[in-house]
Symmetry: C2
Amino acid sequence: MSISNEADLPPNLSCLKTIDTLLRCPICFDFLNISMMTQCSHNFCSLCIRKFLSYKLLCPVCNTPMTEQDLRNNRILDDIVQSFQTARQQLSQANFDSPPISPKT
Amino acid sequence: MSISNEADLPPNLSCLKTIDTLLRCPICFDFLNISMMTQCSHNFCSLCIRKFLSYKLLCPVCNTPMTEQDLRNNRILDDIVQSFQTARQQLSQANFDSPPISPKT
Ligand SMILES: [Zn+2]
Ligand SMILES: [Zn+2]
Ligand SMILES: [Zn+2]
Ligand SMILES: [Zn+2]
């Protein structure tokens, strides 16, 4: 996941910013990794929300009381994260006519 | 939703095809409209799945027994559908240098 996690959207791809933001975990701000959805429809990485629930039995976003048993896999988000990262990379490359600057010329 | 439901991705945006497919309802093949997720992690338009469940109490994708009470709003998908449609339109326009052909010249 580390390759394209940076906010590296070129200006001509700024329209992808909203999707980028939606696909990030509200706890770690990285792309969702094994997405779990709460009953209140909020999504987190599986590890992030389980760690959080070991301290407080609340949704970190809206404070609705909850337990680990209320979590449901939101698998489609994992697929969207993967496709989004691929698409973003391809679009970034397609939009730069010149080859990337190499550290040693 | 009718504006950009057609498979109108220009060749240079073909990398968005996977996301496009993921965001469509397996019942009506249109973009998900008020997304509902089953316990088995499958997503449908609210109306499509409710209509289906009035005939059979099964998930239409994987045949897991279920009822309407098992459905959970998958709100993030509604937001992603909206952002995706906007982004796709902006990218399509940005990628066409020439103005669209008008029916009457
Ligand atoms: Zn996280
Ligand atoms: Zn919540
Ligand atoms: Zn539908
Ligand atoms: Zn299913």
